[in-house]
Amino acid sequence: MLTFITRRILLTIPVLFLISVIVFSLLHLIPGDPARVILGQDATPAALQALRVQLGLTRPLWLQYVLWIGGVFHGNLGNSLQTGLPVAMLIGQALPVTVELAIGTIIVSGLIAIPLGIYAAVHKGRMADLITVFGASIGLSIPPFWLGIMLLLLFTVHFHLFPSSGYVPFFQNPIQNLQSMFLPVVATAVREAAVLLRMMRASLVEVLGADFIRTARAKGILWRVVVVRHAVRNALVPVLTQSGLQIAGLLGGLVITETIFSLPGFGSLLVNSIFSRDYTIIQGSALVAALLVVGVNLVTDLCYGLIDPRIRMGKGA
């Protein structure tokens, strides 16, 4: 196991290096000049040039990269071109919001999807199954931005049950934190739950038709025990893979939910930085996002072993 983890961590180094080179190169290929975005429409050529020199944008590209990556190795992601604030601090402020939202979404969607998926699979072809599958189709069809607006209208404007905006860090006030995250998590989780539910149902239906299930039943094991102990554990592997992919996707893809609920998250930071050509934030965020995706994949792989002991890490699993 330790060898597996070490190998995976070592493999991330070239991955991160490649990503940093690709992001850096692409950034400088896209049109748009940070100096012009910063100084605005009426900037004179002299003012633009003076700012480019001040920001270090007139240096050769390779030198800009070397200076930046050198800083990264010393734990310095640089400062925002727009605000001058340290990029590490900005990411440090934004990331917990998105991580909490993503984890909350996966937990809530898992709590909805796994029991319902099991229920639907066990009752395959019956009315309960049809209703669940139909519900999942609706969940898949509802855009999160629309659901978010509807939730805001209902629970904040009409019933005043939740705050309509803002983020309170968990360690500052856990209750207010949960209140502020409840609606965003629900708005995102409905769609994710629908995906997981369909995955859980399909996977379990397949497992329930396997020979070992028939054998287990023939041995006289209770149906409930067969489902929970034998079938569900096997069926969870693809669901877990899907959850890992969903978390990785959510870390950068929650920008719409963040916008609707005014959460200062990682997705919004990244999108705003792209619009304002804030190169240092984009580079730092891309690196952190890559690190997170690699980390989530590693954790997912480790979880396989917990669910299914047949899977042995580092032995071709």
């Binding site: 896209i30 012009r36 934004a94 805001l152 904040t156 983020y167 200062p264 930071l269």
Partner: protein, 516 residues
């Protein structure tokens, strides 16, 4: 002799400048709206204000985004300020004189004012600020380029020497160039000043979380009697205007800086809220690149300018939150002339004639670059449909704002929908856009007659005379059609009726000091 601007009303004899001498032709004082005294009641409570974007830079010397001003107007005082009727008033400058030749301005400054960090406000501080704005990296650089020297002649007296007459100067000093920052704080913070701003305004900066909120607290040393009333201000950032409105309705904020056009009439009818819907200084339109075919041909530019039905466009999209435009000067501008700003009725015969004269009787095709917001795309599509009956095929190229700015500066476009947020002085809404080689002249338009008129207007201080000069320039510009003026957007604000004391100023900024 340099005539004193008519709208600058001298009402307070106590602030008349004592400067004598034959060099000075006028010594007007300005209306004092704020008597200096100590506060009578302690501020209390918090007001939450919704902003439609996160202000990038809270340093007036570096700011280029319109939304910065919403916060900065409460952190900083300006040398001059706008009154509710759009006239220039005293703020940190209590009076001024202008020399006969218009080359020397002498400013008299307010006494007894301190920056929020305890630094005294005086002539040396103003000199420090103006020199900082004159640095090349400041977006204020071009608006102060006429100032060739600054002399401190007394603790509260400052003389500005100009290299050429520049009548917009006082209006410039009512904007960001006139916002005074603490020299001590700038020296201490360096590049970090924009994240730790210090001014003399009614509120002090406390904290910000990028993309989320900005907190201010009342300045205990504020020099205006009885202001501010709220102890704290929290700005909350909402990048979606519908979400911003929902937050007003839920009570999370009490004031919002924008309202989606389709929601204006319903909010006006909803009890408990006040909607402000008034003309702004800005305009939107389309640059036609005169150096890029087919718009090297003036007749084809004119055909486009005549084929767009502005009233229809504004009616379909803005629902009363914009007015049709035919000049840079909308109803809020001191240079507004209704007849000059009224687009002519669409005349299909004339358009066909222009196309024929331009050698394209069956029409032509071109690509217009536009921003990606739903509103921008909607406008482009409506214009596309308006041009189609004449055989003019307009392709739409959606680009992000950063790319558009680059393309506009490089002349890398045929047509581009890009507007201007507008300024108090008309010069700043026209000069840079239509003067040969000026920074915002993206159309690459050049007409010596227009150049001469725009220079002439800069040398005259009487607004009535300037208006007449601008009217002549606008007529030529519309004939040459390097730019298709489309509409003037309104300033649309909304607030809960629990808020009292709001005074609307034509710049559309929410001045919190008077709110309670």
């Amino acid at each position: 002799m340099m005539a004193v601007r008519k709208q600058l009303i001298a009402t307070t004899a106590s602030v008349l400048l004592a400067l004598a001498g034959t060099a000075f032709a006028a010594s007007p004082s300005l209306a004092m709206s704020h008597p200096v005294a100590h506060r009578s009641a302690a501020p209390s409570g918090t007001i939450d204000i919704g902003l439609s974007a996160d202000p990038p830079k809270l340093d007036p010397s570096l700011s280029s985004a319109l939304v910065d001003r919403q916060v900065m107007i409460n952190l900083y005082d300006t040398l001059f300020q706008l009154s509710a009727s759009g006239m220039l008033e005293s703020d940190l400058a209590t009076g001024y004189t202008v020399s006969k030749d218009g080359m020397t301005y002498t400013l008299q400054l307010r006494k007894g004012v301190m920056f929020q960090d305890g630094t005294p406000f005086n002539a040396a501080a103003v000199k420090f600020n103006l020199q900082r704005d004159q640095l090349k990296i400041s977006p204020r650089h071009s608006s102060l380029s006429a100032v060739s020297g600054i002399d401190v002649t007394g603790p509260y007296t400052l003389v500005l020497h100009l290299s050429k007459p520049f009548s917009p100067l006082l209006n410039v000093l009512a904007g960001r160039a006139g916002m005074m920052v603490s020299p001590t704080a700038v020296k201490k913070e360096g590049a970090g000043f924009l994240n730790n701003p210090v001014g003399t305004g009614p509120y002090e900066f406390v904290k910000r979380v990028v993309g989320s909120y900005i907190d201010l607290k009342a300045n205990p040393h504020y020099w205006v009697k009885g202001e501010p009333h709220f102890a704290n201000v929290e700005y909350k950032i909402f990048t979606d205007p519908n979400v911003e409105l929902l937050n007003l309705q839920s009570g999370a904020v009490q004031f919002i800086d924008t309202l989606p056009p389709q929601q204006v009439s319903s909010m006006e009818m909803t009890s408990g809220y006040t909607v402000i819907n008034k003309p702004s200084f800005g305009y939107q339109g389309i640059y036609l690149n005169v150096k890029s075919a087919p718009f090297t041909n003036m007749y084809l530019r004119e055909a486009i300018n005549n084929a767009v039905n502005r009233s229809l466009l504004v009616g379909a999209i803005f629902r009363g939150t914009a007015v049709p435009a035919y000049s840079p000067f909308g109803p809020a501008s001191p240079a507004y002339v209704k007849s000059e700003d009224t687009p002519p009725a669409v005349n299909p015969g004339l358009i066909r004639k222009l196309l024929k004269e331009g050698g394209k009787p069956k029409g032509f095709s071109f690509t217009m670059q536009t921003a990606t917001s739903p509103l921008d795309v909607q406008i482009a599509e409506i214009i596309q449909s308006m041009l189609k009956p004449y055989g003019i095929q307009m392709n739409i190229d959606q680009l992000d704002f950063g790319t558009m700015l680059n393309n506009s500066a490089d002349g890398n476009f045929t047509a581009m929908a890009l507007g201007w947020s507008g300024r108090l002085d008309p010069d700043q809404d026209i000069y840079s856009f239509f003067y040969s080689g000026a920074p915002l002249n993206s159309s690459q338009y050049s007409n010596p007659k227009v150049d001469a008129l725009l220079n002439q207007a800069r040398a005259v201080s009487d607004m009535a005379v300037r208006k007449a000069i601008y009217a002549k320039a606008v007529a030529i510009i519309n004939h040459d059609s390097p730019y298709v003026f489309l509409y003037h957007p309104n300033n649309v604000l909304a607030y809960s009726n629990s808020i009292k004391g709001f005074v609307y100023i034509p710049d559309g900024l929410i001045r919190v000091a008077t709110l309670s």
